[in-house]
Structures are given as structure tokens and as C-alpha cells.
Symmetry: C2
Subunit: 588 residues, 2 copies
């Protein structure tokens, strides 16, 4: 039905007859001529109808926005004066010789000249996706998956599908449940990730696995959350952490180079401890030059209680952020930042402005200056490297509050004051603790199948809180792009981790017996990683919302057919299901 | 941890030191030497340990089957006499210089020397998948998806994900339902296919879509059915049926050429009517040379009621199959075939053996000969082309029974008598009827979004049963590999089809209002197709069961952890769900 895409017509076609199909983006009538901007997936081209062909002109005269048409015509070079440099096809236009209306369009329910509500956009998703910016994002997403697949295919990874309908287990509190009709009263669960399946594939000797697959979490909808999301999931045998990091780093480098022409270079590595210390985050945005500087040791002997308390508390922390040029911040701005850190539990935000460093104490301005001896003040200036024009901001509290509050403040300052440097700053964060303690209970920082670093099962059980895991997160511009780990492949170590997590040997057998069994039959050392595809595409396209990089996202409104949240079920099936569930609930 | 895969070591490596990781497939002790067959995904290689390195020999001495090990050694050419031509690596062996046990294996629960029950195989899937035949099938499947994706990527198709959690609609009787926690009492449904989503993507102007995606059907488990199965799904705008057939035929040809080195050539086309007439099937296996030959016109005037009835009934049919060499069939065999056609409702199976054609009637043998005049008998011999040594088998009943019974008999004879010719016989079946009548109600032969051929909505409503659809099925060796159609893109035509199917305009608005709306805003002409990936891989690998081409199939037994049918749900969630469903059921 066509010879080419609209967006691909160029000076090379001048003199040729082409046939194009697409949508009327705009029609203008000028001096007896009719100009049509014809749009398809690849772009836009201008078609002109003139009175020499009155029959065709008459059809052109009936065209309205979004009519779907087939156009035949001759490609002409535009005169120099009419070249449109903003348009890919701006050097040519098509003199229309034929025109067929393939389908008409009623006036659109979305207004192309103004912002439409997201509800309207989702209700008429098929129209919203015609906007070039939306179409381009979906096209870009397809290019990302294609590039990722080619890389992995070429590096010995096998695309292997794992089930969507998996076995429901009683602990799966956030799983979606799917009632089975064949096994009445029983349920499938939708997977939160294919983690255990891919580990089993390694035990099957399949060596290198990948899958771009949907994962599910029965959570509330938020701007950046969808109940189904897509993961680039991979697993390898006989590779250690360095090996997995090397190959996945190269994959991301290759994708960025081929799709954005960006050279990411080698990714630096940073320990979790250093990331928390210097950036107050386990996914630091390295484009932001601000850092948290620890100063508690300088302030141990001051009388000022706000500092003296945390400085002498082993669980306390005092961190300063030096903001270059920040001396110009107004009192009102400082008050707002004080309110901001309050969200994270900080009781205040001490500050010192360096108006004139050469003037010594007289050149400083601060409500807390009167509480601090000169030596300590000089110590702070030295440690932070403060210069004339800077401000120092201080957090003093327990470790968690200071780290979180000052980490968040660092990000906010970086954005507000436009301090970000460079476009893309990737890094690896490594050396995570195996466990964290929440309300006296130990939790796995990654997941319970993560291997510990250089330690026996006995040593791990003796001192779990000081053990480091063999996990690694790939972080880009403050976002966790992917995360993974070396997995446990010794049954003793796996049992030890379960016990540390408060899962008894008996409980572990019930819940994870198949895994403990599998580890008895010659499991290979294995390691892997999972990337969030939606987030990767958001980052690479600059989209603001995860919904803008998905064709049919879920919404919280019930108004949007198909593209939308759940609906009414078949009443008969519902009744049958209710009966089965009541039976089951009575049994339980 | 390794320098290469076991299966890739060849004469090119002779003299080199290699390090390999894999599983002990077999250990043999011979004259003080220990021989290990070391296996990984790519194949097997022989490693020899000798007494020159007693420490290493001692470790080798502890190896048992399925230990996972790391081996270092020197690649040696085998002496001429020891070359194993059956083994890819049979020209070399590795003289082991180092050996590390990565993990031990308890005696395996699956016996490698005998057939294991499928239940055992699924329970210990991670061990069953180590068998080269299973591993190779999964590797082949990954190659198929990779080849398909490359073809489609290179031909302008965009890989676009559609939702797994879709809107439940009351008519979705065979859908899996997923209770939503956020929208209490409401349900998602798992898609039986992304049909409507992909049509919406065409209306979005995305032009060419594909996806390799899971589809779901809440049905009983059978040998060739899984509740989740994988579809290669594609849709195009501005291509007609010929265009879609051309590009998908080329895709399949490319895949067969690159993976099996098979040239499929151009696919012939056959109308549905011809396929039913000549083969009694809408997916004829063209490797089978037998055909159904209509002979009712010859038998209109005979007295024999078995023939005279159907011959004079406009809804009757009499079809003969000539089986070359079939005169040697025993009475017992014929009785069995008579029983076989009984499954399809045939009340008998008339037959005529041609023992000696030159001898005229005397050379024939048949219980029905006495009822038939000589002219009619000669007519049958002429029409069927029967020769000495052949048998003619007759079905005479109503059209449906004869077509189904003789179609099935044709397949059975082809298999039993090993008549199949050639390895791969693809074709397109086209010109399907739009509707079929079942119990006085019209049903869509494909689906209600399929366009009719060369007909207006008015004409279609006037005579729906004689309308042909613009649908096409790709058939290979008697299997439907894929099916598709041009879709309706006019709202009037879509409404007409709904009415013909007994869906009132009001009901259509409730159920398909979003589609009828979408068709108002300049929908492009569009067409598509879907392939069953599982079946394609089964065909190409020669696997007998769909379960043998999936990593983790479902089973009907409850014994197999993870790989298996549903399990117990979280009791608390269950309780909550029950309450919501009861509420909802009460409301309904």
C-alpha cells in the first residue's frame, strides 16, 4: 500500500513518485493550494495539492485532522526560501497526484494544543500514543530490548522462559494470587522475580540464562510503581562477582554507545560504607559534587549540646555539607531546607556562612558560632575546605537520621542550585552488609540467597551483622539500574542464612526444601543480576513517569477500558470461586 | 574460572593448557588411570588423571557422578586407535594437572540408565534438564526466538509489551482471574491473547508490532496443553493479507534455513473448501499422499441404501480413499479402521480390494460388490484411479461425519503404513468462512475482529454463512503453526459482525465500546498473525510433548515444587479475599 515511510523521504527521492500512508497531522489552505502534513511512525512530510487536479483537490478539501489516508505524488525539492530546517523532511515536499481516504476521524477527544489530563490520555491511549514523543519512547524501548538481547545472545546467554503461574507459598504476602479452576481451592502466584527458577536453571547446567520478563507486585499504584514491571534478568555459572560485573557493565556500555552515542567508560566501584558516609545513600548520584563530611571527632569537647551529644555517642553522627557559593542563601531558603530535613527526622539544620574567610571569625555568620571555640571552628573550615562565599550545613543526630536527612538534602541542594556536573555518572556499589537489623530482627539486605564474602557458615552465624555480602548494585545518576549477587551454592550456608533470618530448619524444609535438595546434587557456583527495564528506559529517554515508557500502564482510576485497573468478573465464576474459598478458609 | 566450554575443545587446542568447569558424567578407573567424562552445556570431553601427580589422582579418586568440578590440564591428541568418532571432542583428551571439587553430589534420584517417570522428572527438573537432549531443546528454543526477533527487528517491527494484568470482563469465561488488593472485590484477568491491545497499537500509528509473549487459558492440562503458552504475536498497518503472508512466510523460511538448513521454498495456498474436500481437515498434512475423493454423483442411482441415502441428500457426502498397496490389509486391520472411524460417528467403513484389475469384477473383493452395478463399480475405479493391489475405503454419511472420519482415517493410514513423503510440507489455508453455525447460533470461525472478503457490512448481514473471511492459517506437516487475518477497521462492519454473533448493539457498547470508539478516530487498515512458539519448537526438535520444550511446565500432580501446579495461599490473604468475594457475590 506504500513505497516508503513519510519520515524517510529526503532529497534522494526528488523526482520519484512515492505512495505514502499515514495520518493528517494538519491541513492548511493557502492561495488555492491545500497543504497536508502527513505523519507516520517515522516522521512527517508535507504534501501539496493544487488546482491542476481538481478531483483530487476536492478530496483533499474534505480532509480533517487524523484522517488516515493514502497519498501518491512526486517528490519535489523545495525552493531555498521554503526549506524548513526544523523538519527532517524539510528540504522536500510532495506534489500530490492521488489521494485515498482510508478512514475518517471524528474530532479528537484529546486536544493537541494543550495538556490533557492523564486520565483522558489513558482513556484514549491509542490517540495519546500517536504523539511523536510517546511513539518515540516506545520505539526507543524496543531498541533497548533489541540491543540488550543481541548483546546477551552473542555472549552465550540463553533466553529461557520461566513460568508466570508459579506455586503459591503461604509466605508470599505481596504476591498476586490466581485461583485455579482445575485444582479447586488452590492458587497460583504471580512471580515477584524469577530468582529461584534461574538458580535452578544454573543447577541444570544451562550455564548462562537471560530473560526480559514481567514481574508482579501487589502494591499500591504510585508515580513510579506499576503492579507489573519488566526486568532484564540474567544468571551465570562459573563467574564470580567481578565476572558478572564486567560483562553486564560492558552490556550497558554497549547499549549506551549504540543508542545514545554516549561513552560511559569504566564504572568506578564504591563500598556501601563509603557511599553512605560520603553521599548518605546506597545509590549516590555522582553528578552531584556535594559530599557529607564527618566532623564529630572535631566537636567532642564543645559545650554546645546539639553537637556534644551525637559527637560522644557511638551511634551518633555529625556530618557537614559544604555548598560552594551557598553564603548567598537567604534566611527563608535556609528555613525551607530546615523544614525539608525535618521530614527525615532531623531536629534542626545548623549552618555557618563564610562571608570572608580572610577575616577569620569576623568573616563568618552563624547562629551557633557563639557556642563553638575558635579552634573547633577552624577545624570545621579546614576539614570541609570551606572558602569565601560558601555555606556549611550541619546534621547532628543518630547515624540513621543524619545520613538519611543529609543525603536527601545533598540531592535537593544539587537540584535547586543546579550543581549537577556531567550527563551520565555510573558506578558499582559493593560490599553491602549481609543483614540489617530492624526492631531486633535480622533481614537480608538483598535476598536470602545472596552469598557472603570470604566467610564460612559458622563464622557467619557467629557474627552476622558484621558480614559483608557478595552483592553489587549498578547505579546511574542516583538510580539503581540493576542489582545482583553471587548466590549461595552450599546447602550448609543456605541453612545458616535461613536460621539467621529466624527461619527454623523445619520451616526452611517446608518452604525451601526443593532448593536445599537441589543444592545437594552438584550445584555450580553461580551469580547473576537483574535490571529494571522500565527505569532504564525512563532514564535514557528522560521520561518523567514510568507510565510514559509503557504502552498500556495501569491507573488508579477505573475509567480507562483495557489500559486500566481491574474490572468485574464473570458472576458465575465468581460464585464458584467464593464457594471454594469459603471452603478453604473454613479448613484453615 | 575456565578458559573454554568442554564441548568446544578440539584438535586446535592440542598442546594448550585449558581450564574447564562442568559435571562428572562418568568416571572409569583403568590400569591405575582415572578417566573422567566431563560435561557442560556445550558437550563432553575426556579427562585423564595418571599417577605422576598422586595428589591430584587422589582427589580424582573421590569423584562421583554429577560432582561439579574445575579441571585444569593439557590437551593431547588421542592416538589414532583411541579416536572416538561418535564424540565431538573424540580426537583429543585432556591430561589433568589440577582438579578442584566445586560441589559434591549425593546419589541422584533420577536413574540415568532407565526411563524415569514424568513425575520424577518434573520433581527433579533441575537434574532432568542436565540430560543433553533436554538441554539441547531449550538451547534450540532460544535460537528460534533469537532468529525470529532478529528477523522482525530488521523488518521494522517494534517489540512492544502489552499487559499481563488486563481488565476482567464478564464474558471472559475461560480467563484466569486475579483478585486485586488495591481495588477490593475487583479482578484482573490474564490475557488469552494480546489481540485487542495490538489492534490498539496499530490505531496508535506504531505501524508494526511484535511480541513473544505468554498467553493464558484456564483449561484442563493435557499432553499438548499448558495453562500458559507462548505466542509469537505480530500486527501490521497498511499491509493486506498477501503482504502479511509474504513477510511471515519469509520469516519462517529464514528461521528454518538458518537453524535446520532446510529450504522450505514457496508455500502453496489452498482454500478451506479444498482442504476439507481433499483432506478432511483445515490443516492438511501434505506429506501424506492419500486424498478424499468424492463419489456421491456416481452412486445416486444404486439401490444400496448406505450409499443411496447420502448420495441423494444435499447434506450428505460419500468419499473414497484409495490406499496404494492396501489390498494386503487383513480383515482384522480393516475391522480396526472401522472401529476407528466409529469414534467420529461413522457407522461403518465400506471397502473394495483390487486384487487384479485386469480381471474386471472377478478381480475385486468386497462385501458390498453385490449391491453395486458394474457401471458404478467401474466409475469408482476410474474416479479413484485404483490399481491392482490397492484398497478403496468409503465413508458415506452426512458431510461432517464423512469429512471428519475420513480425514482422521487418512492421517492414521498415512502413519500406520508409513506413507509420509518428504520432511517439511508447509502451506497456507485461506478463504475460510466467516461464520459457522452450531446449534442454530453463528460463531466466528477465527474471531469477531476478522474482516470479510470483498463485501459490505450490509451484504454480510444479509447472508453471513456464505461470506468468506480474510483470514489465513500457516500449516506445516498437519499442524497449525500460526493463524491470522486482516482485521475489521470500519465501525459499521464491526457492529454488523457483533449483531450477526447475537451481540446486541447495547451489549456491544458495554463490552467493546472502547474498540468501537477507537475505530472512529482514523484507524489504519491492519492485519496480523500469531504463531504458537511451543508447537513450533516441538515440530522443529521432534519433541513428543509440549512439556519437553519448556523449562518448567505445569503438571497435574501436586508433588513437584515450583515447577508445578498451584499451592496453598497465605491464610490471611485468603480470608480477606473470601470476605471481599462474598460481598461481591452478594451484590451480584
Amino acid at each position: 500500500m506504500r513505497t516508503d515511510y513519510c519520515g524517510n523521504i529526503s532529497k534522494d527521492h526528488v523526482g520519484q513518485e512515492v505512495t505514502l500512508c499515514g495520518w493528517v497531522n494538519r491541513r492548511r489552505d493557502l492561495g488555492g493550494l491545500i497543504f497536508i502534513d502527513l505523519r507516520d511512525r517515522e516522521g512527517m512530510v508535507q504534501v501539496v495539492y493544487d488546482p491542476d487536479l481538481p478531483d483530487v483537490l476536492e478530496i483533499a478539501n474534505t480532509l480533517r485532522a487524523e484522517f488516515c489516508v493514502q497519498v501518491t505524488g512526486k517528490v519535489n525539492a523545495r525552493p531555498e526560501s521554503q526549506i524548513n530546517a526544523d523538519m527532517k523532511t524539510g528540504e522536500i515536499e510532495i506534489l500530490g497526484t492521488d489521494l485515498k481516504i482510508l478512514s475518517k476521524a471524528a474530532p479528537l477527544p484529546l486536544d493537541s494544543n494543550q495538556e490533557n489530563s492523564e486520565e483522558q490520555r489513558l482513556k484514549y491511549r491509542y490517540i495519546d500514543l500517536r504523539r511523536p514523543v510517546m511513539s518515540e519512547r516506545l520505539q526507543f524501548r524496543a531498541k533497548v530490548t533489541s540491543a540488550v538481547r543481541r548483546y546477551l545472545d552473542d555472549n552465550g546467554f540463553l533466553d529461557i522462559e520461566t513460568p508466570i503461574l508459579t506455586k503459591a507459598t503461604p509466605e508470599g504476602a505481596r504476591d498476586y494470587l490466581v485461583p485455579s479452576r482445575t485444582h479447586k481451592g488452590e492458587f497460583f502466584a504471580l512471580p515477584q522475580s524469577p530468582q529461584l527458577f534461574k538458580q535452578l536453571l544454573m543447577m541444570s547446567g544451562l550455564d548462562r540464562y537471560y530473560q526480559i520478563t514481567k514481574c508482579f507486585r501487589d502494591e499500591d499504584l504510585r508515580a513510579d510503581r506499576q503492579p507489573e514491571f519488566t526486568q532484564i534478568d540474567l544468571e551465570t555459572s562459573f563467574l564470580d562477582a567481578d565476572g558478572v560485573m564486567a560483562i553486564t557493565e560492558d552490556m550497558i556500555r554497549t547499549v549506551f554507545k549504540s543508542l545514545l552515542n554516549v561513552e560511559l567508560g569504566d564504572f568506578p566501584r564504591m563500598s556501601y560504607a563509603e557511599a553512605m558516609q560520603r553521599y548518605g545513600s546506597d545509590k549516590p548520584d555522582l553528578r552531584n559534587p556535594l559530599e557529607l563530611v564527618d566532623v564529630a571527632d572535631i566537636l567532642k569537647d564543645v559545650d554546645f549540646k546539639v553537637f556534644a551529644g551525637p559527637a560522644n555517642d557511638p551511634k551518633g553522627r555529625i556530618a557537614a555539607i559544604r555548598v560552594p557559593g551557598g553564603a548567598s542563601l537567604s534566611r527563608k531558603q535556609i528555613d525551607e531546607y530546615t523544614k525539608f530535613v525535618g521530614i527525615y527526622g532531623a531536629k534542626g539544620l545548623a549552618w555557618v556562612k563564610v562571608n570572608d574567610k580572610a577575616a577569620g571569625l569576623d568573616g563568618l555568620q552563624s547562629p551557633i558560632l557563639k557556642f563553638l571555640p575558635e579552634a573547633e571552628v577552624n577545624g570545621l573550615l579546614d576539614r570541609t575546605g570551606a572558602e569565601t562565599g560558601d555555606i556549611l550545613l550541619f546534621g547532628a543526630d543518630n547515624y540513621t537520621v543524619v545520613t538519611e536527612a543529609m543525603g536527601a538534602l545533598r540531592l535537593k541542594l544539587g537540584e535547586d542550585l543546579e550543581l549537577l556536573e556531567g550527563d551520565w555518572k555510573p558506578l558499582w556499589v559493593v560490599d553491602f552488609p549481609m543483614f540489617e537489623e530492624i526492631d531486633g530482627q535480622l533481614h537480608a539486605l538483598h535476598h536470602p540467597f545472596t552469598a557472603a564474602r570470604d566467610i564460612t557458615a559458622e563464622q557467619l552465624e557467629a557474627d552476622p551483622l558484621n558480614a559483608l555480602s557478595n552483592a553489587y548494585d549498578m547505579v546511574l545518576n542516583g538510580c539503581e539500574l540493576g542489582g545482583g549477587s553471587v548466590r549461595i551454592h552450599e546447602p550448609e550456608m543456605q541453612s545458616a542464612v535461613f536460621r539467621i533470618l529466624g527461619i527454623s530448619d523445619e520451616e526452611a524444609r517446608v518452604k525451601f526444601g526443593f532448593l536445599l535438595d537441589a543444592l545437594k546434587y552438584g550445584p555450580p557456583p553461580h551469580a547473576g543480576l537483574a535490571f529494571g527495564l522500565d527505569r532504564m528506559v525512563m532514564l535514557m529517554t528522560g521520561a518523567d513517569s514510568i507510565r510514559d515508557v509503557m504502552a498500556f500502564p495501569k491507573t488508579t482510576t477505573a475509567a480507562c477500558p483495557l489500559t486500566d485497573a481491574p474490572g468485574e468478573a464473570n458472576p458465575e465464576q465468581l460464585k464458584e470461586l467464593a464457594i471454594e474459598i469459603i471452603k478453604k478458609a473454613n479448613d484453615a
